[in-house]
Amino acid sequence: MKTYTYTEKKDTRSGFGDGLTELGRTNPNVVALCADLVGSLKMNTFIDENPERFFQVGIAEANMMGIAAGMTIGGKIPFTGTFANFSTGRVYDQIRQSIAYSGKNVKICASHAGLTLGEDGATHQILEDIGLMKMLPGMVVINPCDYNQTKAATIAIADYNGPVYLRFGRPSVPIFTPADQKFEIGKAIQLQEGNDVTIVATGHLVWEALEAAKILHEKGISADVINIHTIKPLDEKAIIESVIKTGCIVTAEEHNYLGGLGESVSRVLSQHKPTPQEFVATNDTFGESGTPAQLMEKYGLNSDAIVKKAQLVIQRK
């Protein structure tokens, strides 16, 4: 069993901010837009270094999405920044028509996704955004797991021509992926090899999946752990190959089980390799105020929850 440790915790939004800073230095076509959340999105350095390539639109997300679509005409690569809720549900039709249907090269960068936004509560804690965005034809959906991976993903999507939804979060989480790991859109990363159960996780739940695998190991259960940073296009091959080996699967995400990663996995498996599956996800509910750790505990989105679901799904084999 591989050992994963960390020396530092950092928020994934800082990975976005630092990735954007690097793009500002390396890609003259990258422009950034923000709807009055510059500090929250960690965009300050990009703005300081490239004031002419930054566009503050004020609290007007619909306008921001339309402007971003228009900016692509003439070769710019716009990165929009606001909270996940205001990046998706609030502006769904603008994204659908002006960006997705129009095939525009816009990168929708969404912070404070999920319950771990914390104390602001359910108005801001979107748990439906992966579903909304993955249903748009042609939209790539990425949910990286830590600071390093978020930074790498931010840089990688500038080289991909087409609309992308990049989802990240507010809290500090362990940095455990290598700083030099290349980000490949749609390519799952195998973190642990195991034979008894597959755990496929995305975003903040990837670290929890590694913690769960340790606990399971102590109980004599070996888990195959896969980091699915890209929910669409989904690395179907990696998932199918893993369940051929293990015969059961747990999916883990900071999202509603309706419309999330778990359902995408279910679709693939029901078509190609019907397999018992359990879901670590919110259960068709809104969130509430609380600390991130309290919320993840209450809504069953941590390593303990993954362990329980793994034990359950193994019995269903």
Partner: protein, 281 residues
Amino acid sequence: MSNTQQLEDLTIQVRRDILRMVHKVNSGHPGGSLGCAEFLVVIYNAIMERKNGFDMDGIEEDLFFLSNGHISPLFYSVLARCGYFPVDELNTFRLLNSRLQGHPTTHEGLPGIRIASGSLGQGMSVAIGAAQTKKLNNDKHLVYSLHGDGELQEGQNWEAIMYASAKNIDNLIATIDLNGKQIDGATDDVLPMGSIKAKFEAFDWIVLEIEEGNNIEAILKGMAKAKSKTGQGKPVCVLLKTMMGNGVDFMMHTHAWHGKAPNDEQLANALNQNPETLGDY
């Protein structure tokens, strides 16, 4: 093309195209299409600086965005008559597997279209974005856009209108088709908007009015003036007063033809009022 007679002839042919397109598929929006026919013919042929051929980026040429995408029959006819795609393709309007979708889209790769529109209120933001990219590229060309008056009921417009003046988008000429009508009736009955002129002025735009929005000379003069107002630190708005259904007597003075196609008899009547000039497709 700047000869007024040529523009008149083209307008009549465009009217015929619009009527025949919507009649064939018994759907589409002839009223607003006819109302803006003179305007689109004039800007594409006598106002905008356009390159030959089409590429999406449109660098070093003027760009046009149609926000009220339902007047697609007009847009398609003008694009075809300007050589962006074969005129015969107008035959495929709204048919299965056509590039001429009910509302304009980039999705099928139709030359001349740079954004999908139809869901209203989005075109102003897109035009502003394209105008800002022109500034970043040090491209001195202009961005034109067209919007319905009823469309201004969509709130996104006002976000965009506020932004455009705040950011000194002075390479944009946004034209509002003031025909006073929308699907459910007169805009003053559906949702009175008060003075659109006063509203744009309050948002610090330069506002020009073309009182005779179906008169080619008036449009030529008005749009030349609009061009002269660009580059002065403020976005330019043109209020174009038009007659929905213009050029077909029974389609004028009513909102009934906003989204309804003529039957065989009505088509014959309408075409008789607009004898063929440049050849039907």
